[in-house]
Symmetry: C2
Subunit: 393 residues, 2 copies
């Protein structure tokens, strides 16, 4: 990458983040009446459902806190982060302490799920807000939510298994990748060695049980001891997940100056592109069967906003850390396809769900899963990395 290209990208990612993507969410996605954030937004930002996704309350709290910390201490961002925290603490916890999946506009409970991904994103958001405010009550709450999440993920049976564990015992990549990322975030507000220990244990488990380096794959589901399962679920690779967990680990390696860890994580990005990049239409496929057998996921060949967001930052970080031009090439390939297909030139932000050929399947801007998170996080992290690179060049 030339210095000119780096500066050009730096300016593009900054303005796309602030003037387009976050401008859209700040204009349309804040509920001034009932608190929290509205994410079920149509193409033009109009609200098509007022139900609130708890994941996105935590995620929006995170992005506003991160903008405040990494861009500039704008009062508006601080207020929006607090706005998310307030809704989370007032309406998103069940009496037993577990968090809901979604609630009504005014915060009445709709759905409780088995998993604790609401806790993952609440801990992320709360710890980021505690970091910028230094507020002790918020800090304590973030630590509590992290502990609850960890307990659910680590206590056998606490999250009921969907598949009978006597017949087919299995474990999933998701809890491990979540714990790596959230534990790393918690370090900002808490010196407890539990976070580094959690990171070490989860990273170790990812490489020992989920990575099959000889075959160049990272699996989503394996047996508890890391053996492959011969079923559509057991053969499933999620290139977006692979790429996301790879940069979670690369950031740890970079912070710790651990070149050996980086060398183990980098190939995960290569594998995801080798298996997941669509040679016919471009873009990253959503699910891939590692033996080329049919997927059981109806959306397997769609192109979604978040794997492409994650791929932008992962490839750029890999390039920054290694200087290898092939990561620059993967970044440019992803950048070109992403910016050619996802952004909505008319109303701003990105379409989320494209058909395999790149045509939008839906024009919505948000729902219970898509909101102000993957896209602005990737744009922010890329921008800051490009800034560092342009300073360094």
């Amino acid at each position: 990458m030339t210095p000119d290209r780096i500066r050009q990208l730096r300016d593009l990612y900054r303005s796309h983040l602030l003037d387009d993507v976050m401008a859209f969410w700040q204009k349309h996605g804040v509920d001034c009446e009932c608190g929290g954030f509205l994410t079920c937004l149509d193409r033009d930002g109009s609200v098509y459902s007022t139900d609130k996704a708890v994941w996105l309350m935590g995620r929006a709290t995170w992005i506003y806190s991160a903008l405040y910390r990494l861009v500039e201490p704008r009062e508006e961002w601080l207020q929006l982060a607090r706005h998310g925290y307030d809704f989370l603490t007032r309406h998103c916890f069940a009496p037993n302490g577990k968090m809901y999946f979604n609630v009504t506009r005014d915060g009445r409970p709709l759905q409780m799920r088995r998993y604790v991904f609401s806790e993952v994103f609440a801990a992320l958001g709360m710890s980021a807000l505690a970091a910028i405010t230094g507020d002790e009550a918020i800090r304590r709450r973030a630590i509590e939510v992290f502990a609850s999440m960890k307990r659910y993920f680590e206590t056998p049976g606490l999250i009921p298994a969907k598949i009978n564990p006597d017949t087919r015992p299995m474990k999933s990549l998701s809890p491990r990748m979540c714990m790596i990322n959230v534990a790393d975030a918690m370090r900002l507000i808490d010196n407890d060695p539990i976070y580094e220990r959690t990171i070490d244990a989860c990273v170790q488990e990812v490489f020992h049980d989920f990575v099959k380096a000889d075959d160049g794959i990272l699996l989503e589901t394996v047996t508890p001891s890391g053996e492959r399962i011969d079923s559509p679920q057991g053969r499933c690779m999620n290139p977006g997940h692979s790429i996301e967990v790879a940069w979670f680990i690369l950031e740890i390696a970079r912070r710790r100056n651990d070149a050996a860890l980086a060398r183990r994580a980098l190939p995960i990005i290569d594998w995801a592109f080798e298996r997941g990049w669509d040679r016919e239409y471009g873009g990253l496929l959503y699910f891939v069967d590692v033996e080329g057998k049919p997927s059981h996921y109806i959306e397997h060949d769609m192109k979604l906003w978040w794997p492409h967001s994650e791929a932008l930052y992962a490839t750029l970080l890999a390039y920054r850390m290694t200087g290898e031009e092939r990561y620059a090439a993967l970044f440019e390939k992803t950048h070109d396809w992403t910016f050619a297909h996802f952004p909505d030139r008319e109303f701003g932000e990105w379409f989320g769900y494209l058909h395999r050929d790149g045509q939008p399947s839906s024009l919505l801007k948000g729902n219970m899963w898509k909101g102000p998170f993957h896209i602005p996080r990737a744009l922010l992290l890329c921008w800051k990395l490009l800034e560092e690179m342009s300073g360094a060049t």
Copy 2:
């Protein structure tokens, strides 16, 4: 429709059913070693997963019994129906009497779901087998499974709600449409008036609570008293479901010679085509938001095998019952699009999952939902109706 066209279609549906679709399933989809049926078949019939879908054990039992009853008493079909029944009774019931969703090849339990759709298809299959064999033990078992299904569907709280019923009470079309169809099938083997009463109650509930005739829609989800719910789920119409429940009710009307009931059911087909037929690419969309707002279903604009199968028979039956040419036109339109896109000319049977533009998203022939049911049922019922029409012309 001209007499020539009717005879041409009759011969086509017969040969497509017997020489193509059922030939595929009889060749590739029978597990002679462990019992039951293998439905996770790739394009060429090779097995990509040996997990067994309980829905499809009941459904295959039904189709083989129906072929025996409606086509000819072939010993092979009788044996295959018994083969399905044996697997169902041996491996598909949990100790508490509820049926699993899927089991391993050798019948060990994998997944238990909240709903009782396994019971729906088991009751269908078992009653059909009881009808052709006159076997009293099978008959009693079918009656038991029907009673269990009915109890789950009708007892509040027995199927745990996904959405908090205190916050958003709701009920779904599916249990009502299932009960209409299964109760009608049970009449073949049991004179108990409970079946006609169940049909009457469910038909009444469909028209009173789920049909919104002024707006030309049949909703999938409403409040317990039939009010609309302003959410993506509450605005969701499933054209394939609409069409399927319409023909379930039309068959009741035809059998009872109830012209008023037929007149109420027929418009449901028209609405489904008005809202569900894709004016750009043809074919029936999978989910439609009745206010044109975004759908929360990632597969909303895909074209699936089963709505098209159901539409073939529903439109043909509507034409047979009314003589109205517009139903013949809807049938021909559906027939043309379906036969142009779904059948696999190379390996037989149909692709199940097409993109909006009609290109296959996956080449698989079966999975936990697609197996020998919707396609052969529609072909069989169309063929027999065309036979009747060709005799009548």
